[in-house]
Amino acid sequence: MGFHPEDVKRAMSDVRSKSPRADIPLITSHFAPKTVLCLHAGNLPLVGWHDVVSVARAGHRYAGKLSKKDPYLREWIEGRMHGRISDAPMHTPLMSTSLDDFRDLRADAVLFSGSSDSVPVVMERLKDLGAVHEHTRYLIRTAHTSMAWVDSLDSKTMSDLAEGIARYDGQGCRSVRYVYSPYSFGDAKEALKSASTGFADRELFPRNVYRSAYLKSIGHDFLQVGKLLVSDTDPLWDDDDAVVWKQADRNMMLQHAEELGDGLQQLYFTTEIIDGERWEPLSQAQTPGVDWKPDGVDVIEWLLQGANRD
């Protein structure tokens, strides 16, 4: 299943605006450069761009296991980053969609995002290939979901919410899966529906077709937003494509956030600005800045700590 063309266009434009070559200073060049192997997911276009920029800014050598689903990352790296990804200006970064091509790489650090279940499998595979060595450091990100506090139903907020839910078909860890609000789903439905027209050409995921039939049969209301389904009913099984609207206060949201633990990526605010760890404006849900922290970890800082330690 390929990406929606509008999502690709949006990702290219967003990443381009955030990473012009002049804006990617090498933070350090006095450490011996390390080889950093980035294992890129293919769940949304250009999803690995932030890791690439971070490796470049830390002055390390980049090697990237790309996803076959995402040819755009390679295109972007080759087109815009060449010469900044390694210590040598003309060095061509090692990129491949096959892990076998990283045999004997002996990377000093590995960055990847994935489910906790996949971690041992991936690490074992890398060891078997000699892609890592015994002192290799790993930055493993497992967050997979985000929540929004929606304290207004104005058109800007609803538009941001529709974007937060449906952009990239809701497949990013920054995508909104839980909406907490003083308003009920019934209060918000029409406003959200009006704000979602830009995603009207997208068909529900098969699982959501099923869910919509189920919700209809038990008389529960729902709304299609792109490929996703929003309702105030809890997911059937631990359903990753369900977006749940909860009418509750912010404390309930924070309690839920705590329960999600490491699975939580971001908390978004809308009209009232909220300071705190992991809080960001909802309008930035799908347009993270170069400084965003996957799983709350500053990638550059993590890479530099490694350099200092050695």
């Binding site: 293919g42 997979h144 995921f205 098969p206 077709v209």
Partner: protein, 306 residues
């Protein structure tokens, strides 16, 4: 009964299932209704006939519990007895039931089942008293009877009994655990649970059996030892793709357990559970716990086929 007849009955008598089915438009398969529907609304397909039984799942007061309105008690009685007789010589058995906690739920389908088994079998069949050791004199009588003892109970209760009051059961005894680990104080695998029960009651591992059933279902599946669960001919199992539950998965693949229970004609026979399972080539199946995808959404690294 053919699936098409079951379907016709549902479309005619079960408004919830009809709405569910029609929401798919034209399809060439029978969609399975998520069992959660029993928590949300009344699932009933027996017209004006009032339900003779009402089963409710266990849970705390603030939890919404599943309610299964059973039109005919006799259908459940026959289902459980004939289902068990399909795999066991029920007439040659003495039943002992140990279900602490379940007795506080007057609408428990498990309790109804145990009561029926105990009251309608050999006179030595009985409920064991929670918290107390098994009466050795009674065990002697069971041995002397030449019958097979089946100790039936929820897993956590049996584990407590094993820990506090281990005792050698008659050599031919079978322990039937019904799952139900939610309230147990620690997580434990089925293998470890069976090992503990086997050791505590001095039985070979092969004599620790499992039952798979639920409030929403009038039929049960059974597994001997650590083998796969087997069903009577009227309970049909398939494994469904969690990403598209209309799609059946091939043997060996993990997915959601789908069930078609012909005896559920008067509620809903077509059920999709939230349990993870896997089919074996011989038609038996494994129950692998609650379905909990490895969070496939998110910035996940997915090991692609190379």
């Amino acid at each position: 009964m053919a699936f098409t007849e079951l379907l016709e009955h549902q479309l005619e008598h079960n408004p919830v299932y009809r709405s569910f089915y029609e929401a798919f438009g034209m399809i060439d398969s029978i969609p399975l209704l998520p069992v959660e529907a029993f928590r949300e609304t009344k699932i009933y397909a027996a017209g004006d006939h009032p339900p003779e039984l009402e089963f409710r799942s266990s849970g705390t007061t603030e939890m919404r519990r599943s309610v299964h309105h059973v039109a005919y008690a006799e259908v459940y009685r026959r289902s459980l007895r004939e289902g068990m007789a399909y795999f066991y010589d029920v007439d040659a058995m003495i039943f002992a039931a140990y279900a602490p906690g379940y007795d506080q739920n007057p609408h428990s389908s498990l309790m109804w089942m145990l009561r029926d088994l105990v009251e309608n079998s050999h006179p030595l069949s009985r409920f064991l008293i929670p918290g107390l050791p098994i009466d050795p004199a009674w065990l002697d009588h069971v041995r002397a009877s030449g019958k097979t003892l089946m100790l039936f109970g929820a897993a956590f209760g049996l584990l407590d009994l094993a820990e506090k009051h281990p005792v050698a059961l008659p050599e031919s005894a079978i322990i039937m655990e019904t799952g139900g680990m939610k309230t147990y104080r620690r997580e434990i695998s089925r293998h470890d649970m069976h090992r503990i029960l086997a050791e505590a009651f001095s039985l070979p591992l092969g004599q620790i059996h499992s039952e798979y059933g639920m409030t929403e279902l009038l039929s049960q599946a059974y597994a001997a030892g650590l083998g796969g669960f087997r069903t009577p001919p009227w309970l049909h199992v398939s494994i469904r793709d969690p990403k598209d539950p209309l799609r059946e998965l091939p043997v060996g693949d993990e997915g959601l357990i789908g069930l078609i229970d012909e005896n559920n004609l008067h509620s809903c026979p077509f059920l999709l559970t939230g349990d993870k399972g896997r089919l074996h080539p011989d038609g038996s199946f494994d129950v692998l716990g609650r379905y909990n995808p490895t969070q496939l959404r998110g910035c996940n690294f997915i090991m692609e086929e190379e």
